[in-house]
Amino acid sequence: MNNKITIPESMNVIFDKDIHEFLNPDHIYIPIEEGFELNIKTGSFVYMEQVLLSKDNIKVYSPVSGKVLGKTTSMKLNNKDLECIVIENDFKESLRKRTPATKYINEYSKDQINDLIVKFNAINRNLVYGAKTLVINGIDKDPFEHTSSFIINTYSDKILETIDALASILGCEETVLAINNADNLNVINLINNIGTYPNIKLKLLPDIYPIGFESILLKNTISKKQEKWGVNYLTVEDIYNIYNVLKRKKPITEKLITIAGNAVENPKVVKVKIGTSMADIIKNSVTITDDNYYVIINGLLAGKTLTTLNNIVTPEIRSIFLNTIDKQKESKCIQCGLCNLKCPAGLNPKYLKEHKKADRSKCIHCGLCTYLCPAHINFKKYLGGNEDE
């Protein structure tokens, strides 16, 4: 059997060409995670990019300027109740101090880069010093997401400049930017521009699912030897964040998310403030065509349903889908073996479903087995990866 799976349904979704913005929500909700110290008081004024919470050298910045209204427990993060600081937006985006932009980002040292990345929350992983390969993932995890594709399309010059600078500062011998070969606009765009950066190799990967997942992308991009020598893996969103941090020395308080689904008339990629409520984003960004929708985050294949719109946008949210749920009844397994043959992690989902104690740690939770199953078995339910169930 053919082991490559393309998701044909994703081809039919037509996205708005430009990145839209929703950067003026009335309120911003910042989750108070365990161990974080509150640096502001209720009723006080906060500047944009002012530190709100801190723990060791991790800091949480305010995405807007305005008044701190206090704490609330009405909001949720991934369906879990969470205490949040509520900031009323004054829509002035007042900054305490404006930092001038740096002219050349390749003049930073390794340590300076690391300090800035940590200080301004540019990425949620540590850079590996001494790694010989730098791999940049320019492919969206879910075939219905377009965030990475839009970032490359809109900021290709900045992305290439940052990758080149980062590779030379980190001393990487090989730098690979992997993109989807079906992403025609970006393929042409990058082929035209990459000549200026001879150290960056453009890797065109087939349009198969789940090629955008870290382990699968690395398997298809570099050799096992290169993996052994150490790899710095980053996404184009990470690179865009690093660019902003290095160039402007400003913390990451905004992010791009895909808003789509079969209940959305005009799927688009929207730039939003981290901490915005999903209800606000949906209300202000898209036209809904079918009221019987469910809110799904991070993809139609691997994503999960939110129980309420009172969830907030965090750096981990890549997409919001307003979609109907497939309610077809599960049939008895017909032993077709598709789940086993196509599993990108080489697992046997049928066996894992039947044996609760079996090791599930290798599962990447891509949802491919559930998508493929002709008996409509929801393997996602049995393979875990969701603590609230």
Binding site: N2, S331, Q335, K350
Partner: protein, 304 residues
């Protein structure tokens, strides 16, 4: 909450429908060979003309009725809003009925054939799909026909009236003696390729069972100086490897498991040939289907 938002268009309905549609060329040849040809040459009457059609369509009809009865009457709690399409294709029973119609002899007693089908197909609904139902039905029909009635004979009235010396071409285009619609190897192989290309069969089981048995039979025929056609291409072995051995529900599903399963069927077919050539592949598939879980577990051991 881990709900499902999007699914591949491939469902049990699609698999079943494609397999049934691809059986049609085989069925048409069977109707010609055991009905139209005999009628044109005045070997049979109008009833004889429709006899192969009745077996095959009747098999499909019983498969459908069993599904409807089980889903709407016995399992009605779980099927309140199920559509007729979902119920009809809730399992592969329609396909099983057609395959049995293709496999059986034109001389089979109709009452025995249909009663066996009704009872076994219905009983299978309550079992855990461990055993290949087609094999069970066929063995029962064969046993009743051979032991209680006038014997199990594959020859139609035309074939029993003449003496034939078949060559390889005759076997390939299905002129030889065999089940109602299981003799044409050319159509059979084309259908198998189409099933493989459209991912609607367990290709490795079919291919490996054919190759293993062919190699063993070739070796035997070489040593015993026998025409391989008279041994290997008789009794619809290729048809059984294509449609019965690859039954989704009762065969192995892991990559290595399917390979072992296919090889085992081929080898057992060769072994049982010396006991009963007609039942050899059927018993091989039946025994292997009993072991399918074990074979899939063995796959895990190999990985370790």
């Amino acid at each position: 909450m881990n709900n499902v938002y999007i699914r591949s268009k491939k469902s049990i309905y699609h698999i079943s429908l494609i397999r049934i549609l691809l059986l049609i060329p085989m069925v048409l040849y069977g109707i010609y060979k055991n009905g139209i040809f005999l009628f044109i040459n005045k070997y049979t009457n109008v009833y004889g003309l429709f006899r192969p059609f009745i077996f095959i369509l009747g098999g499909a009809f019983i498969g459908a009725i069993v599904n409807i009865f089980y889903e709407y009457v016995i399992n009605k709690k779980n099927n309140k809003n199920a559509s007729l399409k979902d119920v009809l294709f809730s399992s592969f029973h329609i396909e099983y009925g057609i395959i049995l119609g293709c496999l059986t002899s034109i001389n089979t007693n109709m009452l025995v054939f249909f009663l066996t089908l009704v009872i076994i197909l219905l009983l299978s609904k309550f079992m855990k799909n461990r055993v290949n139902i087609i094999c069970v039905c066929f063995i029962i029909i064969y046993a009743i026909q051979s032991l209680l009635l006038n014997g199990f004979d594959y020859m139609n009235i035309y074939e029993s009236n003449k003496l034939f010396e078949y060559n390889i071409l005759d076997y390939i285009i299905g002129k030889n003696v065999g089940g109602i619609a299981s003799t044409n190897i050319l159509i059979n192989l084309l259908v198998f390729i189409l099933l493989s290309v459209t991912n609607n069969t367990k290709t490795s089981i079919g291919v490996l069972s054919m190759i293993t048995s062919f190699l063993l039979f070739s070796l035997y025929c070489m040593i015993a100086n026998i025409n391989i056609g008279n041994v290997y291409f008789q009794y619809g072995y290729i048809f059984i490897f294509t449609f019965v051995a690859t039954d989704y529900v009762t065969s192995s599903y892991t990559k290595l498991g399917m390979r072992i399963y296919g090889i085992l069927i081929g080898a057992l077919t060769f072994g049982f040939y010396f006991i009963n050539p007609i039942l050899a592949p059927i018993i091989a598939v039946l025994i292997t289907s009993f072991l399918n879980n074990l074979i899939d577990r063995a796959n895990k051991l190999f990985k370790k």
